[in-house]
């Protein structure tokens, strides 16, 4: 046992020494990396670390942080009912818009793949535009307006499907549905572009080989040839859709109000905003951010292991 550990330590040391020599030889590489690494560390890594640190303290910016152990997390789960609502809403939104948005992005990218070039360009613009249109989702507050002037209400009244206008954005029963629809509308983002581009790059001779090997329809072709060769883009798209599915904030704030009726449209991020920038309980807000961050990392790991199984 002792010799084995000794051997391991010696091996590690040699590896380190080798790396060090290599690093010295390639110091110009580090020079190139330095400006980015410095900024990246300061504005992306340091915040995450400090956020984890603050989550164990009581901090209100004015006084120095006071260490309180797990108290923030305990309060989060046991005392804060609104947080549990927020988690539930975020999960509902994420579970629906994440996978559905992801699958829809891929399916539409695949459908438009065989269109003639100019039509494909047009389709890409039409599908991608909502996700970059700034705050164009404000228009949904007119479409879903609660009185009879709202477009949806007026349409439904006209068709005699309802007999009184529905409060789409203030009634807790409808709020989440409306938000999910709006987020799905905006879900064809960077991942969608990646799919469109990736599908164009799939090796065409694979399809011919597939035909010879007995693939008989487009769905078999999709599962056995297209999906496996698209795996890298699928992984990238998964990261992108997790990011957008969990960080829902602007849409519920703009449409359902902030705070919304009965907190029915509160998400983890709006909860974080509430504590961070309205009540200045930075420690508590950091605990919320940490929970959100862990959720996202876990989700990403789960999806990666799922995607590895595709087409095999």
């Amino acid at each position: 046992m002792k010799t084995l550990t000794g051997k391991y330590i010696r091996m590690k040391r040699e590896q380190l020494q080798y790396d060090w020599e290599k690093a010295k030889r390639m110091k110009v590489c580090y020079l190139f990396l330095l400006p980015y690494a410095l900024l990246f560390f300061t504005f992306f890594i340091l915040p995450i670390c400090t956020s984890i640190y603050y989550s164990f303290t009581n901090y209100n910016i004015l006084e120095p942080p006071k260490f309180v152990g797990m108290q923030n997390y305990i309060n989060l789960v046991l005392q804060d009912e609104v947080f549990l609502t927020a988690v539930r809403n975020t999960l509902v939104i994420a579970v629906i818009t994440g996978p559905v948005g992801y699958i829809l992005s891929f399916l539409f990218a695949w459908f438009i793949n065989e269109l003639p070039r100019w039509l494909r360009t047009l389709a890409v613009v039409v599908f991608y535009a909502p996700s970059i249109a700034g705050n164009a989702f404000y228009i949904f507050s007119i479409i879903f307006r609660g009185d009879a002037y709202g477009y949806l209400n007026s349409f439904l009244l006209d068709m005699a499907l309802i007999d009184a206008p529905k409060l789409w954005l203030t009634d807790p029963n409808y709020m989440l549905t409306v938000i999910v629809i709006v987020i799905l509308w905006m879900s064809m983002g960077t991942g969608f572009l990646s799919f469109v581009a990736g599908l164009q790059g799939v090796d065409r001779s694979m399809y011919e080989a597939g035909y010879v090997d007995g693939i008989r329809n487009r769905w078999q072709e999709l599962y056995y040839i297209t999906l496996p060769s698209m795996k890298p883009m699928l992984l990238f798209g998964a990261v992108m859709s997790i990011t957008s599915a969990f960080n829902v904030c602007d849409v519920p704030r703009a449409l359902a109000g902030y705070p919304s009726t009965d907190y029915a449209a509160r998400t983890i991020v709006t909860h974080l905003f509430d504590y961070g920038f309205s009540r200045f309980e930075m420690g508590y807000a950091s605990a919320i951010a940490t929970v959100l961050f862990l959720l996202m990392i876990l989700c990403n790991k789960a999806i990666q292991s799922m995607l590895r199984k595709v087409g095999t």
Binding site: K22, M26, C29, Y30, F32, P35, Y36, F40, F43, F44, L46, P47, I48, T50, S51, E114, T121, A123, V124, V125, F127, Y128, A129, P130, I132, A133, G134, N135, A136, Y138, I139, F140, G150, Y151, T190, L193, S194, A197, G198, Q200, G201, D203, R204, S205, E208, Y211, R216, N217, R218, P232, L235, T243, N247, L272, G276, F277, M282, S286, A289, L292
Partner: protein, 392 residues
């Protein structure tokens, strides 16, 4: 990943062509040998267009009749004949439109050589669905443009109409009046946003491509680990890092300066990620040859790598411009004279019912910039995205 986004078919027969011929001979594919008559198609199109125009004219006449009656204080001529014409027109319009779409699709699909594994009805179904979904996706955007062109009385009209009856640019001119009366002149907001966008994007491109170059082309200790951390950071949104970022900014004395927005933008992970993936597609031989010729790393980076990754830096410029253009930076910038354009516009938008028309105009202005940039550069962006895959 190869980047054959625009495959030019060579003149000689590919394996696919040979395969196709064999399949035709075996009777597995029925080739459509009949020449398609474009004449017939054009005639049918013309007839249907005429009918559609007729339907539209009839319905407008009807609307005018009601409006002029209302103006003269008379009761609208609600007789059965008018109503039935109106209904017939509506139904006929829908049926004709749908039928024409169907016909056009068949015309587009039929003469083509069918690819293996693609059934005609499957293609038709998919294209029809694509049309429907595309209309649904485009509707809210079209609707926002349409409402920004409506005069005030039409914005509050009941029952509401999607398209304006009297197109006007009043909302935009009102918006400029409001902006010119603001506490800080409008041009100041514009200058702030342009400054932030320009400096932020420029620095981001330089810094991120320097890092991407060494990460993609040199194997040095720590490089792979660093890149995997950057990939994880793709998931950090501004919200999660917002609070500690504020604290860090205040420690660095950068609250209420442009740098609080610009410096984090320099290190945006998505730019480094896309750039690195694209640079990996450059042949190693190119860089080795330059090494043999005695060029240093800086020289290689500047005069060999950068000119060859034009699509990638165009793409990250566009992504960076999009995100910086849309920042309102309200959490780190407090003085009114340093606020961004989007912030000012959102304030107008939040002005309530009295500013409904201006709010619609704001939405259109804010959304037009990124969409226009995307349309102009979409081929470069797609070329870059082709190498965006994550290898695990």
């Amino acid at each position: 990943m190869s980047m054959n986004t625009a495959p030019n078919k060579p003149a000689k027969k590919t394996r696919g062509d040979i395969l196709h011929e064999q399949m035709v001979l075996r009777g597995e594919i029925v080739e459509n040998k009949e020449p398609v008559s474009h004449k017939k198609f054009i005639i049918v199109s013309a007839i249907i267009m005429l009918l559609l125009i007729a339907v539209v004219v009839v319905s407008f006449v009807r609307v005018d009749a009601i409006e002029s009656a209302a103006l003269q204080g008379l009761e609208a001529p609600e007789d059965a004949a008018y109503a039935s014409i109106y209904m017939v027109g509506k139904v006929a319009g829908i049926v004709l439109g749908a039928g024409y779409l169907f016909y056009a699709l068949i015309h587009v699909l039929a003469p083509k050589r069918r690819k293996p594994n693609r059934s005609f009805w499957g293609d038709l179904g998919i294209y029809l669905m694509l049309c429907v979904v595309a209309v649904a996706m485009a509707f809210p955007l079209v609707f926002s443009v349409a409402s920004s062109l409506k005069p005030l009385d039409e914005l509050f009209r009941f029952p509401p109409k999607v398209f304006p009856q009297h197109v006007t640019l009043d909302n935009f001119s009102d918006l400029f009046v409001t902006l010119s009366q603001s506490y800080v002149p409008f041009s100041r907001y514009l200058v702030n946003t342009v400054f932030i966008t320009f400096i932020g994007t420029f620095g981001h491109v330089v810094i991120a491509s320097m890092a991407a170059f060494v990460l993609a082309k040199y194997d040095f200790p720590g490089g792979k680990t660093f890149f995997s951390i950057v990939v994880t950071a793709l998931m950090f949104s501004g919200y999660v890092t917002g609070i500690p970022n504020y604290v860090i900014m205040s420690k660095l004395n950068m609250i209420d300066t442009y740098w609080a927005v610009i410096l984090p933008a320099f290190a945006a992970p998505i730019g480094l990620f896309l750039m690195k993936q694209f640079m990996e597609g450059l042949p190693d031989a190119l860089i080795e040859a330059a090494h043999l010729d005695g060029a240093g790393e800086l020289r290689i980076f500047w005069s060999i790598v950068l000119p060859n990754v034009k699509p990638a830096w165009l793409t990250i410029i566009i992504f960076s411009v999009q995100s910086l253009w849309n920042t309102n930076a309200a959490t780190v910038i407090y003085s009114e004279s340093k606020k961004t354009l989007v912030y000012a516009l959102q304030q107008i938008q939040a002005g309530g019912v009295a500013r409904t028309g201006q709010a619609a105009a704001v939405t259109v202005i804010v959304m037009l910039v990124p969409i226009t940039i995307f349309i102009l550069s979409q081929s470069n962006i797609l070329e870059t995205m082709a190498s965006s895959g994550l290898k695990d």
